[in-house]
């Protein structure tokens, strides 16, 4: 069964599985890591998981019908996401830097002035 899965032609589902693995990795990273840099990496993983989805949805080869749901739109979207991810990382890192300069750490759990 596993073999059959491996041997079958690559379809959009395989890409989606990769995407979801990335997504889950990102979430786990966010949950488990306490270092803000690591958490931001987790965010990047999530975004890239989504990006894989988008790109996969825009690739006609992966679909039996010969046409993809998103076509160029998806790819453009992916490009935008990359840019935004960069911007986001910049902002987040800037804030992290500020946090570091204030608390001397980038461990989010060290911030304890505010509590729910």
């Amino acid at each position: 069964m596993i073999l059959a899965g491996i041997l079958s032609p690559i379809t959009v589902t395989h890409y989606l599985v990769v995407g979801i693995i990335l997504f889950v990795c990102g979430i786990v990273c966010l949950v488990v890591k306490r270092n803000i840099i690591a958490m931001l990496i987790g965010v990047e993983l999530i975004l890239n998981g989504a990006n894989i989805n988008l790109v996969a949805f825009s690739s006609p080869q992966l679909f039996a019908s010969g046409t993809a749901p998103l076509l160029l739109d998806g790819q453009v979207f992916a490009l935008f996401v990359m840019i935004l991810a960069a911007a986001e990382a910049a902002v987040a890192l800037a804030i992290a830097l500020q946090f570091y300069s204030r608390f001397g750490t980038v461990d989010v759990d060290q911030g304890g002035q505010l509590n729910g």
């Binding site: 959009v12 995407g19 997504f23 990102g26 979430i27 966010l30 803000i36 958490m39 931001l40 987790g42 965010v43 999530i46 975004l47 998981g49 989504a50 990006n51 989805n53 988008l54 996969a56 949805f57 749901p69 998103l70 739109d73 998806g74 453009v76 979207f77 935008f80 996401v81 935004l84 911007a87 986001e88 902002v91 987040a92 800037a94 804030i95 992290a96 500020q98 946090f99 204030r102 608390f103 989010v108 911030g111 002035q113 505010l114 729910g116």
Partner: protein, 523 residues
């Protein structure tokens, strides 16, 4: 070749129209640039930033009003920039609201002398960036623009949250906000990709058409999972912006840590934009007319209604209850914001619920949401402006520090009390009119359970708002209190001017309601 030429011409024409309609936002961009230049060119002009900001936002608002007023009613809806933006009455109204807020915000920051003069230019630029993002959000008709708008609106707000550099809490709040926001953006993006993929387009109307097609094939089950997961992730992303439970954790922290001015920004237009987006997504994806809405897969609408109702009910109840124990006024307002997000989502749920039955009812529900937004904006401006004035003038932000405030600043307390009672929803104040409209929309959509929840919440909310009033009015004056704010001062006049609509909207709300009706497209 001819076709391509035709297409290019079409695009050109569309661009020309689009740019013309986008002038208000361009105004903002120009303002932002001017602000940046001012720091370089006229660094000595101390009040320059505020002035430029004020002029720029007023100009943007004026242009928008002029454009809307010039429009004939029928030609309300334009697909701008090759249909990625839908510049209809709803978008125009929400953009107007956001720009109006920008004007008031510039005045408020002018009056509170915050942030410091040297930082103010940057502050405004970031704010303007966020505003432009919000304007995009409320008009977006393409998933790409949805995401773009969200990010444009969010990114500057992370920085704004941490803008008070000397405040340790602000940094912490900003970091939490940023990380959490980025994560939620990722989740939403993932949801968007799933939705776009399974519905075969990023363009909302096309997606809508595909959805009907899917429904007719009756093999929804295959796509069902990704549709649901996508929907939920998108709702989670919007819920984050709305600070809906359970995506609300960031908000009280940020509100407590950040300056009150940032708080009002986050609590008012951030919500307005997210609600506009939510409304547009729901109404576009789930049906533009009665017949097609009825053709949707059976349980889809109940599912969305259920999700939104649950979200609204939980948010509202949680916000109101959690506000009880708060001792910090700004944090209390944060929870009040959460609760109001719940109230505001309710009419959207009602609108979706009414879609299969009556398009008109759905539009009424949207109108009631918009109306409450207007009232809510004024109420929150007064409340947060009050908090801002207090945090600069009174010792500490704890509510008990304000005891007996009515002795030293009666006019101020009266304005604040009116606003707080309006937030409870007591007639004849605007909050009541807004709540009444929302309740009416729930009743008309037959969402009785939600109506009961909303009504019960009104009672819940009584306590903590009244507690603030009680401390300020009934309690004996604190020894150390030296805060005073005569209504004749500029700050006082600002409060009066923003409290006046709160009262007026409770008595004469027909004109504004006509406006929101027009925006929502009901007769």
């Amino acid at each position: 070749m001819n076709e391509l030429l035709e297409l290019i011409t079409q695009i050109e024409q569309n661009l020309a129209v689009s740019v013309r309609l986008w002038i208000p936002e361009i105004c903002l961009v120009v303002t932002a640039i001017a602000l940046l230049l001012q720091r370089m060119v006229f660094p000595a002009w101390r009040r320059g930033a505020s002035f430029i900001m004020f002029v720029g936002s007023v100009a943007a608002l004026a242009v928008l009003i002029w454009q809307v007023a010039g429009q004939s009613n029928a030609a309300g809806s334009v697909g701008a920039f090759l249909d990625v933006l839908r510049l209809d009455q709803l978008a125009a109204f929400l953009r107007g609201l956001i720009l109006l807020f920008a004007v008031l915000f510039s005045v408020l920051t002018w009056l509170t002398h915050w942030p410091r003069i040297e930082d103010r230019g940057e502050f405004y630029v970031l704010f303007l960036g966020s505003v432009i993002g919000m304007c995009t959000m409320v008009a977006a008709e393409n998933l790409l623009l949805v995401f773009l708008g969200m990010e444009m609106a969010s990114l500057p707000s992370y920085i704004l949250a941490g803008f008070e550099k000397r405040e340790r809490r602000a940094g912490e709040a900003a970091m939490k906000f940023a990380v959490f926001g980025a994560a939620m953006a990722g989740v939403m993006l993932y949801g968007l990709s799933l939705l776009g993929g399974s519905l075969g387009s990023l363009d909302l109307p096309t997606m809508r058409a595909n959805l009907t097609a899917l429904a007719s094939h009756r093999d929804l089950h295959g796509h069902g999972l990704s549709l649901i997961l996508g929907t939920l992730m998108v709702v989670a992303g919007i819920g984050f912006k709305l600070s809906a439970v359970p995506f609300h954790f960031w908000l009280p922290d940020v509100f407590e840590g950040a300056a009150a001015e940032v708080g009002v920004f986050l609590s008012v237009i951030s919500k307005a934009a997210a609600l506009g987006l939510l409304t547009r997504l729901c109404l576009t994806l789930l049906g533009t007319d009665q017949a097609s809405a009825a053709g949707l897969p059976g349980p889809l609408i109940p599912f969305v209604v259920g999700t939104l109702s649950l979200l609204a009910a939980v948010t509202c109840t949680y916000g109101n209850l959690a506000a009880y124990g708060q001792t910090n006024f700004k944090r209390l307002l944060g929870y009040s914001t959460i609760a109001h997000a719940g109230y505001l989502v309710m009419p959207v749920a009602a609108a979706v619920a009414a879609l299969p039955v009556s398009q008109e009812t759905a539009r009424w529900a949207v109108a009631s949401m918009l109306f409450y937004l207007v009232v809510y904006m004024f109420m929150n401006i007064v409340a947060f402006a009050g908090a801002a004035f207090l945090s600069r003038g009174a010792p500490g932000e704890k509510i008990e520090n304000y005891s007996g405030l009515v002795r030293t600043a009666p006019g101020f307390v009266i304005c604040l009390a009116i606003t707080l009672f309006s937030l409870v929803g007591l007639p004849p104040l605007g909050g009541f009119a807004g709540k009444f409209a929302i309740f009416a929309s729930l009743a008309s959509a037959q969402l009785w359970a939600l109506l009961v929840v909303a009504a019960v919440n009104t009672v819940f909310s009584l306590f903590y708002y009244v507690r603030v009033v009680k401390v300020m009015v009934l309690d004996p004056a604190a020894q150390s209190l030296s805060f005073s704010l005569p209504l004749s001062s500029p700050q006082g006049m600002f409060l009066v001017l923003t409290t006046a609509p709160v009262v007026l909207l409770g008595i004469l709300w027909q004109p504004v309601f006509d406006l929101v009706c027009r925006a929502a497209g009901c007769q």
